[in-house]
Amino acid sequence: MAEKTLRTPRADAGRQPSAAESSTAVGLDAVQVRFRTKKKDVTALRDVSLGVASGEFVAIVGPSGCGKSTLLKLVAGLLRPSSGAVRLHGEDVTAPRPDIGYVFQRAALLEWRTVRRNILLQAEMRKMSADHARTRAAELIEMTGLTGFEDAYPHELSGGMQQRVALCRALLHEPPVLLMDEPFGALDALTREQMNVELNRIWRETGTTVLLVTHSISEAAYLAGRVAVMSARPGTVTEVIDVGLPPERDYTDTMSRPEFRRATARIRTLLGAASAAD
C-alpha cells in the first residue's frame, strides 16, 4: 500500500478541499486485513472496496465477526491494512487520524468528569480554544437534549444519555467524518428509535459524512442513504444497496414506505444468504 506516498503533513487542519476530496470522503481500495494469532492466521477482511461521498450517510451491516468494526478502525487509522489502500479525503491513512469523530458501542466516558467536561475532553486533547469549545459544547448539549445534565456524572445517566454524551464528544471538533461502531447496540428499543431520529436530524444539520456499523437492519435502512452489506468472515462487501429515501425522514412514515421495505427485504435476503453459506 506504500507504493504512492504523496504525503502531506497531517497537521493541516485548515486545508482547502480539492475537487477530489470533496467528492470522496472515505475510500477503501481492495483492502485486506489479516491477524496473526499464535495458532493461526485469521483473515478478517478480504478485498473490501467502498467509496463514501462527502456528506453521505453509509451504514454497514453484516453477521457478527465479519470485520465491521475492523473496517471503521482502518478508516480511523487505529489499524493498518495488510494490503490495499485506505484513504480519508484522498490522503493515505497511515496513523491514527485526528480529523474524525469516533463513537463506540459503549459510551467510554470518563467517570470522574461531568457531562460537560467529558465532552470538552476532545477540546483539551486537541488544544482547541477554550471559549470556542465551550460555546460549541453548549450547542451540542442543547441539540442532543442533554440540557440540565451538564454537571451530572456518567453514573447518574441512563445508557441513552451516556451515548448522547459520547456523540457530543465525537462532534465537538466538527469532524468531517463521523465513525460510529454500533453506537446504539446496548440501548433498549424505544431509546434506540429516539436516538435514530436524533442522529438523522444531527446528520442533516451538520452535513457530516457518517459511517455507521450496526446490527439492526431497520436502523441501517432508516438512517443511511446507502447500506453496505458484508458477508461472514473473511468479510467483504457483497452489495451496496441504495435506500432511495429523502434525507429528512419521519420515523413511522419511513417504516411503511415501499422503498424502506424493499431495502430491508434485500438486506435480509443477503444476510440470510451469507449465514446459509456458512
Binding site: 474524525i100 459503549r106 467510554a108 470518563l110 437534549g145 445534565f149 451530572a152
Partner: protein, 287 residues
C-alpha cells in the same frame, strides 16, 4: 413532531438534583448509621475487660484494669505524646516515600515490559523476605536514628502501592485509549487525562493497606533498636513489667493506625466522589 418530543426530554428527573442537594446532611446520618456498631462492640470489649480485672480474675501485672491504663495515659501523656509523634512521623515519611516510589515504579513498569520483567522478581523478593529479619541489619548499616525505621516502613508499604497502581494503570478501557488516539492526543496527554486518573480507585485500595502496614514497619524498626517511639515505649514497659504503660502504648499505636486509615479513606472520598457514590450500595452492606 416525534423530534420535538425528544428535544424536550431533559426536565431533570426529580431524583437526580434532589439527592445532590440533600447530600451533606444525609451523609452525616449515614455515617452515624454505619459507625455506631463498631463503637458498640468496642464498648462491650471495654466492659468485658473492666469486669475481668475488677473481679480479680487475672493478676493486675498480667492484665491491668482499664482505669489503670487510662491513668497512665493521663499522667504520662507528655511522654506518650512525644513517642507517638516520633512513630507517626516515621510512619508518614515511610508511607509518603513508599507511595512516590511505588507509583513511579508502577508507571515505568506499565510502559516498559522489559523493566517490568526485570523489576518484578526483585520486588517480589523484597516483599517475601521477612522485614523483621532484616531489620537488625538496617540498624547495623544505618544506626539507631530514624533512617532504619523509615526504610522498613517504606519496604513494607511499597508492595501494595506498586501492585495496586500497576493493576489500576492496566485496567483502563482499551477503547478509551483508542479514542484518545483519534483525538490526536500525545502519550503524555493520554496518561495525564485518562490513564492516571483512571487508576486512582485501584491505587487507593492499595494505599489503605499500605498506610496500616507503614505503622507496623515503623514499630518493627523501633523494636530492633531505638531510644524513641512507641516500639521503644512498649519494649521498656515490657522490661519493667509495667503492663499499664504497655497497654497504653498498644492503644495509642492502634489509634494511630486507625486515624491514618480513616484519613486515606476520607481523601479517597474527596478526590473520587464519583467512585465512592458509585459503589455506595456496596458500602452500606459491607460496613
Amino acid at each position: 413532531m416525534s423530534q420535538s418530543a425528544i428535544t424536550r426530554t431533559p426536565a431533570p428527573p426529580a431524583g437526580v438534583s434532589e439527592r445532590a442537594q440533600r447530600g451533606a446532611a444525609e451523609r452525616l446520618g449515614e455515617a452515624v448509621e454505619h459507625s455506631w456498631r463498631p463503637f458498640a462492640l468496642l464498648l462491650v470489649c471495654l466492659v468485658a475487660w473492666w469486669s475481668v480485672s475488677a473481679a480479680g480474675l487475672v493478676e493486675p501485672y498480667l492484665v491491668p484494669s482499664p482505669g489503670a491504663t487510662l491513668d497512665v495515659m493521663a499522667t504520662k501523656s507528655g511522654y506518650l505524646w512525644h513517642h507517638s509523634w516520633v512513630t507517626t512521623y516515621e510512619t508518614l515519611l515511610g508511607f509518603v516515600i513508599a507511595v512516590v516510589v511505588g507509583v513511579l515504579a508502577a508507571v515505568v513498569m506499565v510502559y516498559s515490559s522489559t523493566v517490568e520483567k526485570t523489576l518484578y522478581p526483585i520486588l517480589l523478593f523484597a516483599q517475601v523476605i521477612p522485614k523483621i529479619a532484616i531489620a537488625p541489619l538496617f540498624v547495623v548499616w544505618l544506626g539507631f536514628g530514624i533512617a532504619p525505621k523509615i526504610l522498613i516502613a517504606v519496604l513494607i508499604a511499597f508492595f501494595p502501592v506498586v501492585i495496586s497502581m500497576v493493576t489500576g494503570l492496566k485496567s483502563v478501557d482499551p477503547e478509551m485509549i483508542q479514542l484518545s488516539q483519534t483525538m490526536g492526543a500525545s502519550a503524555l496527554q493520554t496518561f495525564v487525562k485518562i490513564r492516571f486518573p483512571a487508576s486512582f480507585p485501584h491505587l487507593f485500595s492499595g494505599l489503605k493497606v499500605a498506610v496500616t502496614l507503614a505503622v507496623t514497619g515503623a514499630v518493627v524498626g523501633e523494636f530492633v533498636g531505638a531510644n524513641e517511639g512507641l516500639g521503644y515505649v512498649i519494649l521498656q514497659a515490657n522490661g519493667n513489667l509495667d503492663t499499664p504503660m504497655l497497654f497504653a502504648g498498644l492503644l495509642v499505636m492502634s489509634l494511630i493506625g486507625v486515624v491514618l486509615f480513616v484519613i486515606v479513606e476520607i481523601t479517597e472520598k474527596l478526590l473520587l466522589p464519583w467512585h465512592a457514590s458509585r459503589r455506595g450500595d456496596a458500602v452500606s452492606t459491607a460496613y
